[in-house]
């Protein structure tokens, strides 16, 4: 069989645990261009384990771009240099034979490194817990159609709901701001009838938690949108800003 493999030099961030210092380790690999980057790391881990060395820790689950667990930064881009894909969808044919790759964890004050490429993204969960839900009983699936909505509205909600919570927007932003994530989670409810009751409390609670968790503020540079694997739009950030301002003007909840 012909060997089409490409040879790459990998510089991968290694860190034993949250409190130790990390470093880059260099690995030379020969890999199939058809392998995904995670498959390439699986193979590398097999060889490391065969040699009795510690495998590289990274996260993954669905490996088809929908669960949001696999994010790492490849050559300076969260989820790698190609637009609108998750790390698990990044194939080695993207890279040239002989290329140098830097693989780093998502970096932000709010994300602690657990091990190697795995970061603790639970601050994003905390934001959801503070308001990213609907607490009234909205019935079962067919009941959703009780409230007629336009196609445009449905599209806005669905496109916001495409966010897979991967946290790459934070990793991309120079301020490590979570505004794209939070605004997607605010918008998916804000435009729907079922989301109205808690609309203004939700946006204020989630923005407050976002600030408490140590994410930066938005300088409107839009690096998040460029790197988001789902192409979540910064118009969601505008909607969240608008709702936040409206909430401050009209909400009765004075405790915010």
């Amino acid at each position: 069989m012909e060997n089409h493999n490409i040879n790459l030099t990998l510089n991968i961030w290694r860190q034993e645990n949250p409190s130790t210092e990390g470093r880059f380790d260099e690995f030379k690999v020969s890999t199939s261009p058809d392998a995904s980057i995670l498959e390439m790391l699986d193979e590398l881990n097999n060889t490391l384990e065969a040699k009795g060395e510690r495998p590289i820790a990274f996260e993954s689950d669905c490996r088809e771009g929908i669960c949001g667990t696999c994010g790492v930064v490849v050559n300076g881009h969260p989820h790698g240099p190609l637009p609108k894909i998750a790390t698990c969808q990044l194939h080695m044919r993207t890279f040239k034979n002989g290329e140098n790759l830097y693989i780093e964890p998502f970096r932000a004050k709010a994300y602690n490194i657990i091990k190697d490429l795995i970061v603790d993204r639970s601050p994003l969960d905390k934001i959801i817990q503070s308001g990213g839900f609907i607490s009234i009983n909205t019935g079962s699936a067919p009941d959703a159609n009780i409230h007629p909505i336009s196609k445009e509205t449905a599209t806005i909600a669905i496109e916001a709901a495409e966010c897979i919570g991967c946290g790459a927007c934070v990793a991309a932003c120079k301020n490590a701001s979570a505004m794209l994530f939070v605004s997607a989670k605010v918008s998916q409810f804000a435009v729907l009838p079922q989301g109205q009751l808690e609309r203004y409390d939700r946006v204020q609670a989630m923005v407050n938690t976002m600030d408490e968790m140590g994410f930066g503020s938005c300088t409107n540079t839009y690096a998040c949108e460029a790197e988001c694997p789902k192409g979540v739009s910064i118009t969601n950030i505008a909607r969240m800003n608008r709702d936040f301002l409206n909430a401050k003007i009209s909400s009765h909840a004075l405790h915010f």
Binding site: R107, A108, K109, A176, S217, C218, A223, A226, N241, L245
Partner: protein, 220 residues
């Protein structure tokens, strides 16, 4: 803590302060540029404009104090936001490319802001202070043209006006994003308007030092 001070401490609340002060400053720049353009009417016309401003007395003082406050608040909140954001990624990336995907003007907002701040101080000392408290009874027209005959001063002035253009190229549309006033219908117009305004201010303010520098070396 009241809801008001709590609200202005949130990330979006601080940005709203930047937006409101930024847009008001931007209105001021319009008036300032229009005022500057009276210089094209010649020395007598310009001097009449300056004395009209002075004849307004307390109204002018009121505007001056308001302006100073706008600048102070915009600068204070802007630098504080920049400092807060600078510590949100304690360990930097070895390779960081995401920022290269964004518009050039969006990368240097606080840096262009600091340049404008340096200019503001120099500008106030060399024009405003010298005119009001210089004590030699010099006309503003003469002060302005003397400074602009200095190539270093004119170059400094022009560089900062370019920085101002870059600040507003990003800042104008950014303000509408922060307010949440975006829509597929009018956001493209706002973006074009922002670019137009950036060029208008960048070029408009620069024309004056360019003209007076060349007329100074032209010997008339």
């Amino acid at each position: 803590m009241s809801w008001l001070s709590r609200s202005f401490k949130t990330s979006i609340g601080q940005k709203l302060v930047m937006t409101i002060t930024g847009l008001l400053l931007f209105f001021f720049l319009f008036v300032h540029l229009a005022g500057n353009f009276t210089i094209w009417g010649g020395e007598a016309f310009f001097t009449r404009y300056v004395s009209t401003l002075e004849s307004l007395g307390n109204f002018t003082h009121f505007i001056e104090v308001g302006l100073a406050l706008l600048f102070i608040v915009h600068i204070f909140f802007g630098l504080r936001l920049a400092l807060q954001n600078a510590e949100k990624r304690p360990i930097q990336y070895k390779v960081y490319e995401s920022n290269n995907l964004i518009d050039f003007s969006a990368r240097y907002t606080w840096q262009t802001g600091v340049l404008i701040l340096v200019f503001l101080v120099v500008h106030l000392i060399t024009f405003w202070y010298l005119y009001k408290f210089g004590g030699e009874g010099r006309e503003l027209f003469e002060i302005v043209t003397t400074w602009f005959a200095n190539p270093l001063y004119s170059l400094f002035y022009i560089i900062i006006m370019i920085a101002l253009g870059i600040h507003l190229q990003h800042g104008f549309q950014s303000a509408f994003q922060t307010l949440g006033w975006t829509h597929p219908k009018f956001t493209p117009i706002i973006e074009k308007l922002g670019t137009f305004i950036a060029w208008l201010f960048g070029l408009g303010f620069s024309l004056i030092p360019i003209y007076f520098y060349f007329s100074a070396i032209g010997g008339n």
